[in-house]
Structure formats: C-alpha cells, structure tokens
Symmetry: C2
Subunit: 400 residues, 2 copies
C-alpha cells in the first residue's frame, strides 16, 4: 500500500490493525505535532491508560508548507537510528514499537508525561539527572558507532545506511550558510537587521571559520550522530531523560551533537537578559545552567574515555597519545559547533522560544546581539580554549 | 548468467558475443595479469592490429591464493570510477568499452604499447609529459568530485556508490597498521628484521601519527580518490600517461592520491643507493626525479586552484582565506601519506620492484632503512614543511 496521510481516525485504525492495541474501543487520538516536519499522534486507551505515539513524516516542511517538498524517507532514517539507540542506550530514548517504511511512520513509547526540556527551561525548571543521562547517551552512541569500536566493514555499512541527503542539506544551509548572508530563509527581527547588515554579515574571518566547520560536517564520517540534539529534542523530568527526533541522523562529526546541546543551553542562559524576572532567580538559574553544562561535558568526556579504554577494538586507537589528541580535537570542534548553533538560532529559519518569547523586539535584539557576539567568540577562539570552564567563564563575564 | 572464470578461449568468445569484435577469426588472446587481484587478457585482431584489454576480478587475492577470498564486486567499483574518469579526464585513463558486473569484468582500451612506469623508472626511463598529465588527472578528479564543486546531493550519492569496504580494509591494514608491528602479512627482508625489532617497531610517536593518518583515511570523505596511485598503476610513454586500476577508488582524503604517487617516486630515488650503476647516471636520474616531483606537485596545486577559482559552486568554498587553509591542510596530509607509503613498501605485503630488485640483501636492507627513516621524517614533520622543495631537499641531504 502506498503512502497516505494519517488523521486521528486512521491512526487508531492503523494501530488496531497492526496489533499495537487489541481493539478500537476506548481509544482516543490527538495530533500534537509542533515540530517542522511531521504529524504526531498520541493514541491512548482511556481504560488502561496505555498510550503510544505514532509519528508520520509529511512530504513537505510543515512550518513552511507544501512549497518546500521533502521526501518522506527521513522516517526510515529515524527508525534506523532509533533501532541502534534502543540497542545502545535504551534508557535514554523512546522505545521503538513498530515501523512502517512505506507509510513513513513509526510507533513508539509515549513520553508525554515528561515535558519538552526547552519549555521547562523557559520556566526555570531544573533537571538534576540530565548531565548524567545525556552524557551516557552521547558517550555510548558516539563511541560505539565509531571506527574505534566498529569493524571497518560495520562502520562503512552505517555510512551507507545513513546517507540522509535531504536533512544534511538542511543543516548545511540553515546552520552553516544562510545565517552568514541575507538569505530568504532567514527569519530576522527587524531591530536586529541593522546589526546584521552593518556588522555581522561583514565578518569575513567568521565566514571562513564557519566554512571550515561546514566542511567538517560534510566530510567527517566519525560516528552516528543524532544531528539535531537541541533542548526541543529532549523530554526530561526529575529522573528521566529521553532523546528523540533522530531524523537528522547520519555518520558525521561526533562533536556536532555535543556542541549543539551545549549551545542550546547557552542560548537559554543568555535569553534571561531580555526577560523581566527576579534577578536573584535568574542568577540562581544561570549557575544551575553552567554547572549543568560543565557536568554534562565532564561526564561525557569521562565516559567516552572509559568506553575507549574498555572497548577500543581498533588497535590504532590504542597508540600512545592518540586518544588525547582525538579528545582535544573533539573539544575544539565541539566549541566551534556550539558557536555555530548559537548564531543560527538568532536569525536563521528555526529559532528558540527561549529568545523569540521575548516580546519586546529591542530587548530581543540585545539578547540576539549577545548571542551572535558570543557565538563568534566561541568559533574564532575554539583552538585556544583549554577546557569548558574557560568557555563558561567567557559567557559569564560577557553576560552581566 | 552467474560468475565464471575467463580463460583465453572464453575471453575471445565473450568479446565476439558482445560485439566488441565482429568475428573470432584472427583473434588471439593472452593472459598478462601481473597484479594481485585479477585476470587480464589482451585480445587482438591480428589482421587489423585492433586490440582490447579484458580484465576480470578473481574471487581471491591472486598473490596469496584462494586462502584470501575477496568479493568480485571491486570490478563494479573500478568500472564506476572509470566511467567518471572517462568523463572528467578522458586523456589520462583507458577508455572503458564494455562492462559486465555479473561477470565482474570490464573491457577497455589496450595500452600495451606503453610501458608500466615502474618498469621504465627501474631502467632510468624519463617521462617528460608525466607532471603535466598526472597533475591534470589529480586536479580534475580530486576537485570535480569534491564538495567544492558537486551539490551536496551528488557528493553524498558518490559516497554511497563507492563504499568499497574490502579494498579500503586492505589499505587500512597493509598501509596503516601491519608495517608498524610484526604482522603475518609483512614480507620482511631477513637482514632488515633486526632494525624493525630493535628500532622501528618501538617508535610509539610514529605509530600515533600514522594512526591519525589512518583515521583520516577512514573518515574524511573529501573526493573520489583512485586509492592505489603508484607507479605500477600508470602506463607511460614520451607523450602519453594513462592511469588505470581504479578498483580501490572511494570517497576519501584527496591528499592520499597525491602523497602515494610522490612516495613511489621517492622510493625509486632512494633505491639507486643499492644499485651498481654509473654514479653520474644516477645523479642525473635523481635530479630528473626530484624535478618531476616538484613540477607534478606545483602543477597540481596550480590547476586545483584554477579549478576552484573557476568552478567552486559551494559558496562556502569562496570564503576569504578558506582555500589557502584547505591547500595547506592538503599539503600536510600529502606529506604524511607520502611517508606512510614509503614505509609500507619496504616490508609490507606489496613491495616495489625498485627495491626488491636489489638482490644483495644487505644492500637492500640499507636502502630499506633509508626508506623507513625518511618516511618517518616526513610523517613526523609533516606540519613543519612549508613546501615540497623543503621535502625534496631533505631527501637529497639524506641520500648521498
């Protein structure tokens, strides 16, 4: 059967037909998608409270509409990644229940008892388990899909399986290209435009350095990366962290995932400068955020190295001094990608509610300029930082 | 029809059946393969003198025998690469006449009026057109299959098309791993063994640096590289240069092809220290060799940059200063790969007749030690050389 678009009724029928639920009696379905690319239904048995999520790819970019077509094969990518994640790090991703590549849909564990981390952070929610959980996710997925662990053959098969042309192109354009010139895809706060035109778009050194990062993204097939690991791709609670939306996954630079999540936390940090909130509460939340980033990164490096010591099957990975060099490069690239993410989220196509929630456009502009300036500093100085504390100190010094 | 192994009679029948020749009358066939992996027949119409080459992959590594099985899909890789080369740089590769993926065979232009460059160089043959021709081949194939020129989609399709698991693995093992320890695959001059055991295999810094080069080879999908560009993969005459045997092709680091051909010329340069030959002739030939290398590399860089200026469609490639940085990295990696190739050819599985032709094992050992020492210097100092002249000067200073 060919592709057809689900609605709430069809979603229920489909799940019963495929044995996910025994019968349609008492089932309810609700479309809750707020991403850019998909329909998302929560289907629930009101009697037992059992529920699942059915996610179906739309053949266009939802936020733009049918004028931007997009192949629906990305659900195959997401299902493939989720299978690997279910195997490598089952605690920190939704359980994959069912996949149908023809319909471009996957059925997975319902995580709606948790809140999207981005929304929680806008309300100053704290996530004490997040550094522990996310660092394990990163260390395990990035190490065990790399040449350090996999055989040459297994690794190359992953490269072929995750070619993911269209979604990589979105990142290449929207993160590494369009924010650096006056592209149609940009979404520009009118108060920010003068700064972009007079200052930001004239920074040729920055454009060169970002182009190097883009080239890394396009050529370095290191690990299976999630590819879109921002705070809107994470459901979190006090003791739970679930990373989803892996449709951008491909074999790319490991630092991209690490830098992207850190960059999104920095965005939240900086966003408070534009908000009317008790300064003491802001101060407290900001310390929490920097501590979170530091712990996340420290745990990640520790666990990645532990994996390496335990399971580096590639004998070259055991050459003396090689791992240190690898970890240094990984850190440098992480800071670069982190900066690129901070920049794209200020005036690129997809922005963060952390900042767009600031209704006063002048205040929003001031936050955005800070983001651009700090993003630039991170990228330009990425080779000079010795550790993440030096980066968080820079952020702290520049923001109040 | 499934795979069957060709012989001279079957090769003639096949070519007539597929219209390459009109009739079998007057056709002769001769098996001339001296590579490691294939059968090669020259089939000739004695009346017209027309001839073609039919190359068929064997399902094992020929030099080792049936105990080392190898899938025959590599001919598909070679045919795919040859199609691209026929398009990009038709003057410097054999013309592809026919392919049969089921039989793992290709039929191509017969180049047997030319000599294998390695054999010619062992006889001090000079190739005045080689730098001009080979630099065009390198500049055009490496630029026009890169992200600088191709669309993101076209490039990623090439990555998928040239996954080439088995032949990449051969390089990973035989070039970047086995020569650095006492591996069974090595083929060691008994007079060299003490040096390997007491000196060479203890060099942990070298092993670390080679591991970095190996990782580049495994992860950096920059351009469609030939993958085995030594002097035994080139037919050359006074005014002709034809590069063949592209079965190792895949999307890898561009510097690998450049470094490999330069390394093979350096091997010939150093080999003369072990030969009884008129010192004046040696001196003259050696100047020719270094001049060849310098011109090859200078022309390559010039043409690559010309292609870039003319045809870099990726706007990021036009960022100010970006190309210079790219060319610097390309040069550094070239010297690294060049050194690795010099090392692997001294005691790895596949060696060069330039050196194995030295029958006195002690003299051969002395040449091999020079090769190892210089290969190491190139790898360890690859970040410090400013240009190829500094490298050729080093070679010159160390060899008489």
């Amino acid at each position: 059967m060919g592709y057809y678009q689900m609605n709430e009724k069809l979603a229920i029928e489909y799940l019963v037909e495929h044995g996910v639920f025994d019968s349609a009696t008492g089932l309810t379905a609700k479309e809750v998608g707020d991403g850019n690319l998909n329909l998302v239904f929560i289907v629930k048995d009101e009697a037992t409270e059992n529920s699942v999520v059915l996610k179906q790819a739309l053949p266009y970019v939802r936020v733009v509409g049918e004028s931007w077509p997009l192949s629906i094969e990305r659900t195959i990518v997401e299902a493939n990644a989720l299978e690997i994640y279910n195997n490598l790090t089952p605690n920190y991703v939704p359980k994959l229940i069912h996949r149908n590549d023809q319909l471009s849909l996957i059925v997975m564990e319902d995580l709606s008892h948790l809140e999207l981390m981005r929304y929680g952070m806008i309300k100053m929610q704290k996530y004490p388990s997040f550094p522990e959980h996310a660092s394990t996710f990163l260390a395990d997925t990035l190490f065990y899909t790399s040449d350090m662990y996999l055989s040459s053959e297994e690794k190359k098969k992953l490269v072929a399986k995750f070619i993911n042309i269209e979604l990589c192109k979105i990142t290449e354009d929207l993160i590494f290209t369009d924010p650096y010139h006056d592209a149609d895809t940009n979404n520009i706060n009118p108060r920010l435009r003068p700064y972009l035109e007079e200052v930001f778009w004239k920074k040729t050194d920055l454009w060169r350095e970002v182009s190097k990062l883009k080239y890394k993204f396009m050529t370095e097939a290191q690990s299976l990366i999630h590819g879109d690991l921002h705070t809107g791709s994470i459901f979190a609670g006090e003791n739970e962290t679930k990373i989803f939306d892996a449709e951008f996954a491909f074999m790319g630079p490991a630092a991209f995932d690490v830098g992207k999540i850190i960059g999104n936390i920095f965005i939240n940090y900086i966003s408070w400068s534009g908000k009317d909130e008790d300064p003491e509460r802001i101060k407290d939340y900001r310390s929490y955020l920097l501590e979170t980033v530091i712990r996340l990164h420290r745990f990640f490096e520790r666990k990645f190295i532990e994996n390496w010591k335990k399971d580096a099957l590639n004998i070259s990975a055991r050459a003396e001094g090689y791992r240190d060099d690898f970890m240094n490069n990984l850190f440098t690239d992480t800071i670069g990608f982190c900066g690129a993410v901070m920049i794209r989220r200020t005036h690129g196509l997809a922005q963060n509610l952390d900042v767009t929630g600031i209704e006063d456009l002048q205040k929003r502009r001031d936050v955005q300029v800070k983001l651009l300036e700090l993003g630039e500093k991170l990228i330009m100085n990425r080779h000079s930082f010795n550790n993440l504390e030096e980066v968080t100190n820079l952020i702290k010094e520049n923001i109040e």
